[in-house]
Amino acid sequence: MVFQRKHILGLEDLTAEEIKLVLDTAESMKEVSLRDVKKVPALKGITVVNLFFEPSTRTRSSFEIAEKRLSADVLNFTPDQSSVVKGETLLDTARNLEAMGATVIVIRHAMSGAPWVLARELDSSIINAGDGSHEHPSQALLDLFTIREIKKEIGGLKVVIVGDILHSRVARSDIWGFMKLGAEVRVVGPPTMIPREIENVDVKIYYNLEEALKGADVVIMLRIQKERLGAELFPSLREYSRFYGLTRERLGLAKKDATLMHPGPINRGVELSSEVADDVHSVILDQVTNGISVRMAMLYLVASGGGNG
């Protein structure tokens, strides 16, 4: 199978086969990361711009390492050092970068759909590194990759996503990814944080964490953003943690070999109790390592794929 897409904007667009192709490619890329000389010439001569309008140390560093391992020329562009603060539009900023020779643009933006603006108007390949509350495809792909390594097979798994589904791009991408590969997905959180009509994509909605955790193979905890406190979505962090915080006791309701994931950074004592936060650490570090391989695969596939001839 050849990857035909010019852009990776979200997992909603990708077929199960395309997702598997990314994961398979990531496996080969992981092998590169285990070598002494962690570098291949796949993207030699290609300029990749990391256009990050939102601060993100992890995702941006991970993309940067991935790009360098593929021998791309890398430009990191963050708005506080640029003309964006002077009122330049997203499109003008990106056009400038393209004029400097960028052929792949990795974009992170606080507003949903921002990568679509670039995909519509520019010639470059666009990789969505997280847009607003919409999608975060590289995070979901590395979640899938990590789970596939641990469980061997994603089809048939019970996956529980806990927390602020309404505002979470990780949740949306994970829902698409796990569903397309045949898992059963449950979402759980306070009703104010469950987006309207999400049941139409066949996820099961729970408001009770204990109920949702029963028999789970994978538990994905979302970060609670403290700035949501003012928006009347929940009364206090204390009450949130009481009903939706993961404790060892609650985790015991899931399967014995259940895998716990968190896209980080963790709020200790809010969505995870301190003891669970310590337990989860090993998988988090695996995820970070796998993140590089998955992003190498994404970059390689769009840069060499059918979309670019």
Partner: protein, 427 residues
Amino acid sequence: MNILIKNGRIIDPSANLDKSGNVFIEDGKIKNHPSDIKKLEKDQAVKIIDAEGLIIAPGFIDLHVHLREPGFEYKETIRTGCEAAAAGGFTSVVCMPNTNPVNDNASVTEYILLKARTEGIVNVFPIGAITKGEKGETLAEIGEMWEAGCVGISDDGMPVMNSRVMRHAMEYVNAFGIPVISHAEDINLSGNGVMNEGFTSTILGLRGIPNASEEVMVARDITLAELTGAHLHIAHVSTAGAVRLIRDAKKRGVKVTGEATPHHFTLTDKAILNYDTNAKMNPPVRNQEDVDALKEGLKDGTIDIIATDHAPHSEDEKKVEFDLAPFGISGLETALPLSLRLVKERVLTINEMIKKLTINPAKVIGIDRGTLKAGVVADLVIFDPDKSVTVDREKFRSKGKNTPFHGWQLNGSVAHTIVGGKVVFSV
């Protein structure tokens, strides 16, 4: 020059008229519908328009237009807005006050009317603001604006959240007999919403505006209309619940009318699936059930009027992140073919459609137009209801190219638009 329009199908819902015939315009007024035209045809001083196969109707009246002048001339001017109206078959447009400065006093009203007289090719009827600066706090000088020529009041785009202020506005206008046009939206419920709340907003991760945001305000304003006896006109009705509330109120005898826009009865929020900012609109385009309810409301008369909410914006303003793009659709030049779809779908007869574009809006603002009766000002449209057209925004007269209908294959094309006995547009 006097004009003879011959051999057309004359449809004038104000007189329950639908017949083949001729219309003679003399000195800018409808003279009569002569059956013997031999003598007129020979008269060199009479301009003859052959309307064979075409419909002759009163010129359309758009109760909801943003002409953007003064203040936002880069989006639209009175000149370009009127040209777009003429191209769309509209002979009168009613312009909303959210300009800069806001039309909240007689001098702004006079400026708009002066500009319209000197540069506009169709009639312009301004709406004054309800409150000063559309801030929702203190009443604007409604009486003076009425004297200057305002035909109604509205804080369109900025709902009056304070119910006491709205109550007083409704009581106060009773002195002048003009309607209060409500942009019904609870801005707390809308929050920072940018599209309809539902499955599509969930998928796209965009903040939603629930139907309830419109419905609670429609309910409030109907309640206040009952309290005050004012004529309440609900602008751009978009939800099934709002249609129900208006239907119910009408049954009780409340003086309430409603309008629907072509985009609301044509599109659902699926139009936004690719983050198309040209379909970003407030109130947002909704669900299929809402579209169906609007059609039902148009059919049973709950919705009296088709209005465009013509809201032109510059291309640069729309080529941005969805959250940052302004709300609004350029509507004047697609209204007729989109409304004719309702006729094709048997939601409305052609006569009912024309009624909702002519005499019904004329009645809301109390103007003696929207009719072909002898003696009235000759505002007419002559159009071909069947002619196939492809919407091309580059050909819009309006500066606003922001349409979600670009490339659509539709039927219905304006042949001539006549304002005050003068041909202002011919295809």
